[in-house]
């Protein structure tokens, strides 16, 4: 299956350009959508998930016009919104069963097998009788993915699922996503670079409504190899280095700063070459795009 997004644009009434002629082709497997807050990730996700209208452009899932035939899309869609609530007084199992029926699984035995399998898969079996309202954040997200996977969806959209999770929960959730499979399209939006590098076969970086990079994570990383330099500097030197070289990130370490630069030639001492990460790709592309806009 292929999801073709062509020239998708969206401007909000307040003038914010959320999507600007977005073109993407997404194939089966996990696809990561990376971008800073407000880049338009959620708008794109919600548009594909039939929850919003686009001003312009098309979204085709093979032959299916996603923007027009919403009802058909919903039959094969699994969606985990960025944040969601639950009815306070309903247990996980009941709630999943409820969604399963609404998704069209009417055979009782089938439904119960699916619900149990999903609870098992998401490690929620032991709390199946517990009210979802009392779940911790991680459990709630796993419940969210369980409901999204009901009824064998062909297209799964997961909007910033790991935001707010602690490291253990995040790993647990990533593993779960990784298991979903290669036969369907899974689109994952996040602003955490590691989520994408760990999980995704394909990715795109979105900034201010525009796609500024797309490809496979490994390919994008290999393009950047040899261009990333790292140095440990005094805090007071930061400003000077910012002027003299293309710094893309910095972090504090033992009272000093570790900064990374992205450029073809070495910025010189104290910089030394280092292995490029997806993070470097991300920061450099964003910086590039922002400069281009100025």
């Amino acid at each position: 299956m292929k999801l073709h997004i062509q020239n998708l644009s969206k401007t909000y009434p307040n003038g914010t350009k959320a999507l600007n002629k977005v073109n993407l082709t997404i194939e089966n497997g996990m696809f990561g959508l990376l971008g800073p807050n407000g880049a338009g990730k959620s708008t794109l996700m919600r548009t594909i998930a039939t929850l919003q209208e686009a001003d312009d452009g098309t979204v085709m899932l093979d032959e299916l016009d996603v923007l027009k035939e919403k009802h058909e899309v919903r039959k094969i869609l699994g969606y985990l919104p960025q944040s969601f609530g639950v009815y306070p007084d309903v247990s996980a199992q009941e709630m999943l069963d409820h969604f399963a029926r609404l998704k069209g699984i009417h055979d009782k035995a089938e439904r119960s097998d699916t619900v149990n399998a999903l609870l098992e898969q998401t490690n929620l079996s032991h709390v199946r009788k517990v009210k979802v309202g009392t779940f911790s954040g991680g459990m709630r997200q796993r419940f969210g993915i369980a409901q999204a996977l009901l009824a064998s969806p062909k297209l799964v959209i997961v909007d910033e699922p790991t935001a707010g999770l602690d490291p253990v929960e995040r790993t647990r959730f990533s593993n779960l996503l990784a298991e979903i499979g290669e036969q369907i399209i899974v689109i994952l939006s996040t602003h955490i670079v590691d989520d994408v590098s760990d999980l995704c076969q394909g990715m795109a970086i979105l900034n201010k409504g525009t796609v500024i990079a797309t490809g496979k994570p490994l390919e994008l990383m290999s393009e950047a190899q040899g261009k990333v330099w790292e140095a440990t500097i005094e805090k007071s030197e930061h400003e000077a280095y910012q002027k003299s070289c293309n710094l893309i990130s910095y972090r504090h370490f033992s009272g000093k700063l570790i900064v990374r630069a992205f450029q073809d030639a070495s910025p010189g001492d104290p910089f030394s070459p280092t292995k490029a990460t997806l993070g470097d790709v991300y920061f450099s592309r964003i910086k590039e795009a922002d400069h281009a806009l100025v």
Binding site: E53, F99, L102, I105, T114, L118, Q121, T134, I180
Partner: protein, 1223 residues
């Protein structure tokens, strides 16, 4: 306390910054302006009158301003208070700001006190705008209507000080406390409901509790105390006096302010600066997974294998989804305390209306049997508003539920059609009224059984409550769903729903949109009759509802189509979604069905209400009525012949609600001038004439069908003493149904044709507009609507009963369906069957007034021949509906005893037959006395529970109506002041005397107490001028209530026999007289002649003036004498006053005989009673008198006029418990 001022100012500043402050201030101002405009006539004269303004009642009387402001404050103010007082502290929790505040060094008093006072001051400020708005509009320079007193600022300020501020404080403290302590928004709603009910409950309760003190203290708003306080105020007092702080109100405030302060103290004590309520802790703890679950790193590509599922989207599956969602919604509704509180309060309200003593207080002291339709009325009345409120509230909750729980994005991406989702909400909402009403039916049936009534009609319950009522609820639910789907938020949705409810019901018609076709949900007011079912109402009602059902289907489909799915409100997309949804065959089918119903029944209703029948709104009708006067007023004084003979042949077709009439009148010129033209009012009931011919040739014939006037100009004038005949033939046809004013007279069982459906002669001023405002609007000259004085000889030429006749000869043949009996005044001459129809020929053998009705129904008959004084045979007949046999014996008994008393005292009965018959209640709820025939509405006597009151109502009403056979049908006054004294007051007197003979004086005295209260209340509501009883001018509180009082007093003072003898002489002199007719002046001549000199003053007091007393025992005690007798000392106040009819009272010198009584407490037949030891009339000549009276046993109570024979505004101080003299 140190931060109190800071927090107070912060709160006020915060409030002033919020838009809600300005919104509510505007609402308060507009509400005040609305009522101000209503009072001052800005919204048209009709609305003004509904507020009791008019005549002498000023639009800005301090009483009206006070009571109205308080009433508005109770409703509008409640919402303002709920909006502002519930949240000052709760807000911090809601926004999670409490952790910021609570960690600051703030003390509780400053925090709570500051927040409370800040918001409370804001509330008071907003409430002021009610008065501002009202004052502005009352004194708005509309065209001067002359009903306005000068502007007095104090009249607007005083209500705030006396009533509104205390009310606001009480209510505010409760809202503040409940929400601050519970920290739950739900309690705002719950509390608002409970408070609203509490207030309405208090005023209902006040009608039940005999004790004025208790009733006043029970009502936290103080309204009851005020209503009781001003109960007997005259118009003049109401126009000038303000309601100050009187003791009962002060005590009320002491109690309720105490409660409010206690609540505040309680709030202070229980409030703690903690993160959460202790109870809440449990549920806010998130569960943590036990143990550590190993973090397994899986390899890429390990596919999850889930069991295979099959998906299907058939309609059966959709139905099962619908049921699934419905169950979910039902659980939501029925688990909420709001529903149960509403239900409980509804049950309470219903039980209240069912309690027998409630009904007793409401009516004239008697209640009806718990017939099923009455029970249905209680169910619908008890639950009605709660159901509406519940629907509005729950529609909002359900439509916004997914978004409230933030589960909407999960739901919206499911492949379930929106219609299924909305449909499930609809069904769940529908279950709520079903539940309420079923509960109501259950209680009603229990109530019937408890009262020993076993004719339970389950079918009728189900048909009305679960059938008819549910149609309306379903229609309203669909409308509310639609509104909430389109509304940008829940609260605006609530507001629009409320607006829609009142808009379609009452606001649109008041704006001139009366056509039912434009008012969603409108139908016809259904009135059930045991005799006739829903009779003529059902068909038009159902046609309207089918029309609205079509509209509701279309609304529902639009609602589902426009249902917002997704996170963005995009109208273009929503309309696209709607268009797409209609393409589905099922939806398309439903749309076509809805459109077909809407258009089909719409056309059908239009055909009926606009083509078969003329559509007239009230403006049109007012205009026609004005036209009638403008065009034909000149005919009023014109000499016209009088009808002397009426012969009718009427074929009634109750099944098709038609009749055919052939009739002949004999007309005679009784005047001294020749008559050249005759004016007819052909029919008040849309009879179309095919023949309307005089027995003489005409010069000209004018038929004004629009205004219903025929003017026939004779070729040759009718000379004095000459006669001619009118022959007419016509049809009354019921064609479909009109938009308003269904004519239900030709009912299938119990058809009732009044004489006014047949031709009347002359221009009738009774059909002129009486309201001065309406007259002005239509350019009619100012006219005072008063009866002419008794000296106006022209008006003595005719009676008020019929202007176009004196006494007539009457015969009538009626044919009707084979299973019915037809009845007209007179005696049955012949009865036969022909062609499957029954014929009844009636003829009256004596003179009678032209005042009759023709009935036909499926009657049971009870007949008895009564030998009066063992010598005069009278046939007594009762025609009744088979189920209504409760009071037949009492009615028979009353007829016998009344006929005997009246014959003995007032002269012979003019007929050989007396009959009572029953007619369906949708013709009206009255009893009326026609010649030898008394018609009772089925609810006005036949189903009254005679044991439910002190006075046996069926007996009393029968006695009163039978008395009219003398008072009106023998002695009838001219059309002048005092006419109703001769008919109604004399009938009241006659019936009371029969009752006195039957039950003894003690019973009558209880009845008189009721009459006194009614009279005093009635005069307080007088909008023109109060007349003395002998000049009564269609004033119910005088002709009935005061009539009873003054006549009873008269017979008490001069003696029953003396009075009756005088009355007898009067009757003999005037009965069946030809014009000029008698007046109360003539009546008085006979009474004066029979009254001893010492009581002559009394006749002036009782009949010719408005005389009031203030009789009071000021002090009393007793001393035991040596001979074991007791010397009673009493100091008595006897003030006598005259009222000029407009509330101006002057004290006058007293020289009156008044009862003085001394009582002892004794056991009579096992019950303690005050038995008179001494009872004498004493003459009083000064305002204060001291009496010393020796009695033989120990006194318990003394009284001045203890039985209230004289009119006294405070009767509670007429008697006093007596104490032993302290030394």
């Amino acid at each position: 306390m140190h931060l109190f001022k800071e927090i107070l100012l912060f709160e006020i500043k915060y409030r002033l910054k919020r838009p809600s402050f300005y919104v509510y201030t505007t609402i308060a101002l507009l509400t005040g302006m609305l009522y101000g405009s209503i009072l001052s006539g800005g919204l048209g004269p009709e609305t003004t009158q509904s507020m009791g303004v008019g005549g002498n009642n000023l639009a800005n009387s301090p009483i009206l301003i006070h009571t109205l402001l308080l009433a508005i404050a109770q409703i509008a103010g409640l919402f303002i208070i709920a909006a502002f007082m519930a949240v000052p502290v709760f807000r911090d929790f809601q926004r999670n700001a409490h952790s910021l505040f609570f960690t600051k060094p703030i003390d509780k008093i400053s925090y709570l006190g500051g927040r409370f006072m800040g918001s409370f001051l804001i509330v008071l400020f907003i409430l002021l705008f009610l008065g501002v708005g009202m004052a502005v509009m009352i004194h708005w320079p509309w065209e001067d209507s002359g009903k306005l007193g000068p502007f007095v600022l104090w009249h607007y300020v005083n209500p705030y000080l006396v009533s509104i501020f205390p009310f606001a404080f009480f209510t505010s403290s409760i809202f503040f406390a409940i929400v601050t302590l519970s920290r739950n928004e739900l309690f705002i709603y719950l509390n608002a409901i409970v408070m609203l009910v509490l207030f309405s409950f208090a005023s209902t309760l006040s009608n039940l509790v005999d004790s004025k003190v208790l009733a006043s203290l029970l009502d936290p708003t103080g309204s009851v105390a005020i209503v009781k306080h001003i109960e007997f105020w005259t118009v003049a007092e109401k126009n000038t006096q303000v309601i100050g702080m009187f003791p009962l109100l002060a005590w009320n405030y002491v109690i309720w302010m105490g409660v409010a302060i206690a609540i505040i103290v309680l709030t202070y004590r229980n409030f703690s600066f903690s993160y959460a309520r202790p109870k809440m802790l449990k549920s806010s703890q998130k569960i943590q997974e036990r143990g550590s679950i190993p973090v397994n790193i899986h390899l890429f590509g390990r596919t999850v294998s889930l069991p295979k599922v099959s998906l299907s989207y058939t309609w059966q599956n959709h139905l099962s989804q619908l049921w699934l969602l419905t169950k979910m919604e039902l659980r939501r509704i029925f688990r909420s305390p709001v529903l149960w509180v509403m239900f409980a309060v509804g049950v309470l309200m219903m039980i209240l209306t069912l309690l027998p003593f409630v009904q007793r207080m409401a009516g004239m002291g008697a209640s009806t049997y718990p017939v099923t339709y009455g029970m249905i009325g209680s169910i619908v009345g008890g639950f009605g508003l709660f159901i509406i409120a519940a629907i509005i509230f729950w529609t909002g909750e359900l439509v916004w539920r997914e978004r409230h729980h933030r589960i909407n994005e999960l739901m919206d991406v499911l492949p379930t059609p929106s219609g299924i989702n909305l449909g499930s909400k609809f069904i769940a909402l529908l279950s709520m009224p079903v539940f309420f009403l079923l509960g109501g039916i259950l209680i009603a049936i229990i109530a019937q059984l408890v009262q020993g009534y076993f004719r339970i009609e389950p079918g009728l319950y189900l048909q009305r409550v679960l059938g008819i009522e549910m149609i309306d609820h379903a229609l309203f639910i669909v409308l509310c769903l639609f509104i909430q789907v389109l509304s940008p938020n829940k609260y605006l949705g609530f507001f629009i729903c409320v607006l829609a409810f009142f808009g379609f019901g009452s606001i649109l018609p008041s704006l001139g949109v009366e056509d039912r076709l434009f008012r969603y949900m409108s139908g016809y007011r259904l009135s059930y009759s045991d005799m006739n079912g829903y009779g003529p109402f059902m068909h038009p009602y159902m046609s309207m509802k089918a029309y609205w059902l079509g509209a509701a289907i279309l609304l529902g489909i639009s609602g589902a189509g426009l249902y917002l799915r997704g996170t963005e409100n995009n109208w273009i997309a929503r309309f696209t979604q709607l268009k797409q949804s209609i393409r589905k065959p099922v939806v398309l089918g439903a749309t076509l069905l809805g459109a077909a119903l809407f258009l089909g029944f719409g056309s059908y209703v239009y055909y009926n209400t606009h083509i078969l029948n003329d559509f007239l709104n009230s403006k049109d009708r007012n205009k026609e009525q004005a036209e009638y006067e403008k065009k034909y007023k000149f005919l009023e004084g014109k000499a016209q012949p009088k009808i002397t003979d009426v012969t009718l042949e009427v074929d009634m077709f109750p099944e098709t609600q038609d009749f055919h009439v052939t009739g002949q009148y004999k007309l005679k010129n009784k005047t001294a001038t020749a008559i050249d033209s005759i004016v007819f009012l052909p029919s008040l009931g849309n009879v179309e004439y095919s023949k309307f011919e005089l027995s003489r040739s005409l010069k000209e014939r004018i038929e004004d069908d629009d205004l219903g006037i025929f003017l026939l100009v004779l070729a040759e004038a009718l000379e004095p003493g000459d006669s001619l005949y009118l022959d007419f033939e016509g049809d009354y046809q019921t064609n479909g149904f009109p938009n308003n004013g269904l004519d239900t007279r030709m009912a299938e069982n119990g058809a009732f044709i009044p004489h006014s459906y047949f031709p009347e002669i002359g221009y009738n001023p009774l059909y002129e507009h009486t309201s001065p405002e309406v007259r002005k609007e239509y350019g009619l000259p100012k006219r005072e609507f008063r009866f002419p004085p008794r000296t106006d000889t022209a008006s003595l030429e005719y009676t008020l009963i019929a202007r176009d006749s004196d006494w007539i000869n009457f015969s009538c043949t009626i044919s009707t369906e084979a299973d019915q009996i037809a009845i007209a005044p007179g005696y049955l001459q012949k009865e036969w069957e022909d062609n499957g129809r029954k014929y009844f020929a009636y003829k009256m053998d004596s003179k009678m007034l032209k005042f009759y009705n023709l009935l036909s129904g499926k009657y049971e008959v009870m007949k008895e021949q009564f030998m009066m004084y063992d010598s005069i045979p009278i046939d007594l007949e009762i025609y009744y509906h088979e189920q209504h046999d409760y009071n037949l014996e009492a009615m028979m008994d009353a007829m016998k005893k009344s006929l005997s008393y009246y014959t003995e005292n007032f002269g012979p009965y003019q007929h050989k037959v007396a009959r009572i018959l029953e007619f369906p209640r949708h013709h009206g709820q009255f009893a009326q006395s026609f010649p030898n025939t008394i018609s009772y509405s089925e609810s006005a006597g036949f189903i009254i529970d005679a044991e439910s009151s002190d006075v046996d109502m069926p007996f009393y009403v029968t006695a009163h109506e039978l008395a009219h056979q003398w008072w009106a049908h023998q002695v009838v006054g001219g059309a002048v002041e005092g006419f109703q004294f001769l008919s109604e007051s004399m009938s009241q007197y006659s019936a009371m005397m029969v009752m006195k003979k039957e039950l003894g004086e003690a019973q009558i005295e209880k009845y008189l107490q009721h009459e006194l209260n009614q009279y005093l209340k009635g005069r307080g509501g007088e909008s023109r001028k109060e007349n003395p009883s002998h000049m009564v001018d269609q004033q119910f509180y005088i002709q009935y209530n005061k009539g009873s009082l003054v006549m009873y007093a008269l017979q008490d003072y001069i003696g029953e026999d003396t009075l009756n003898a005088a009355i007898r002489r009067y009757v003999d002199a005037v009965k069946f007289q030809e014009p000029p007719f008698t007046t109360t002046l003539e009546w008085m001549d006979y009474i004066r002649a029979a009254t001893p000199d010492s009581f002559q003053y009394l006749l002036t007091d009782l009949f010719e003036t408005i005389t009031l007393f203030e009789n009071q025992i000021l002090e009393t005690d007793y001393e035991e004498q040596n001979d074991s007798s007791y010397l009673v000392r009493m100091k008595i106040l006897t003030e006598k006053k005259r009222d000029d009819g407009e509330g101006e009272e002057t004290n006058i010198a007293i020289k009156d005989y008044i009862d003085v009584g001394i009582f002892a407490r004794k056991k009579v037949e096992g019950e303690w009673e005050d038995v008179p030891l001494y009872f004498q009339k004493h003459q009083f000549t000064q305002d204060t008198t001291e009496l010393k009276i020796l009695v033989s046993s120990k006194p318990s109570k003394v009284g001045i006029d203890p039985y209230h024979k004289l009119i006294d505004r405070t009767t509670s101080n007429n008697s006093k418990r007596i104490q032993k003299k302290s030394n």
